[in-house]
């Protein structure tokens, strides 16, 4: 599964969130190809899932982005990330 982790400038938040997504994927044995980038990359992203913090996720949904989007409230909460990703795994 191809995942884009995004935040406004593609540096701090998305880097940390990428670490978490990779940890969760590896723990569960999920085949996840995860890249991180700024919001500029969303338009050209051709993958399965976009993950960001909740405020950005809502913004992307409001903009009508077609790719499924998950919003994460707490970057430190692996359980939240796992719970929200699970429905998309194996699709």
């Amino acid at each position: 599964m191809k995942v884009l982790v995004t935040c406004r400038n593609g540096m701090g938040t998305s880097t940390m969130l990428t670490v978490q997504v990779r940890n969760v994927a590896s723990k569960n044995g999920w085949d996840v190809d995860c890249e991180h980038a700024s919001l500029d990359a969303v338009g050209s992203f051709r993958g399965d899932l976009i993950i960001s913090l909740s405020d950005v996720a809502k913004e992307l949904e409001d903009e009508g982005v077609k790719t499924p989007i998950i919003g994460i409230d707490s970057l430190m909460d692996s359980n939240e990330i796992e719970r929200k990703m699970t429905p998309y795994i194996g699709k």
Partner: protein
């Protein structure tokens, strides 16, 4: 790995707003030329326009912006607030720990960010940091492997 440098750590800082928290937390990085003095002002501007994007987890803010906003070299600072302040993030307020991140490369510090995530996930680490009044003790919490 050295995650935090003692010159960038401040404990027991009192602020009256989230804006002043960001400014105070950036001071050591400005002084040591990790960021320009405009950098914290840019973080505030972006947060005022787009919402509190810097609150990344309960009680934790990661104050950061882009190279074009005044990041000069890679560095991470930590400021612990005496009294937590609200940043306007419904889920994760109030904030006690303000990290200021300056990042100038692409994947340069993926390993550093991974280390930070690992530390912050440790049981009660936020409580330990908040209660500590010893910079070296805080540094040890972050730099131990």
């Amino acid at each position: 790995m050295q995650l935090l440098d003692s010159s960038l750590v401040q404990l027991d800082v009192t602020v009256d707003s989230w804006q002043s928290a960001i400014r105070c937390a950036a001071e050591p990085l400005v002084k040591n030329k990790f960021v320009t003095k405009e950098y914290p002002e840019r973080v505030i501007e972006i947060a005022e326009k787009d919402g509190p994007y810097i609150v990344i987890a309960p009680h934790i803010a990661l104050s950061h912006a882009a190279v074009s906003d005044g990041a000069l070299k890679n560095g991470l600072g930590l400021t612990v607030l005496t009294e937590p302040v609200k940043f306007g993030n419904k889920v994760n307020d109030p904030v006690s720990l303000v990290f200021t991140l300056s990042s100038v490369g692409d994947d340069i510090h993926l390993s550093q960010m991974a280390a930070l995530v690992n530390v912050l996930q440790k049981t009660r680490v936020i409580e330990k940091v908040t209660r500590s009044n010893d910079v070296n003790e805080v540094i040890d919490l972050f730099n131990e492997r």
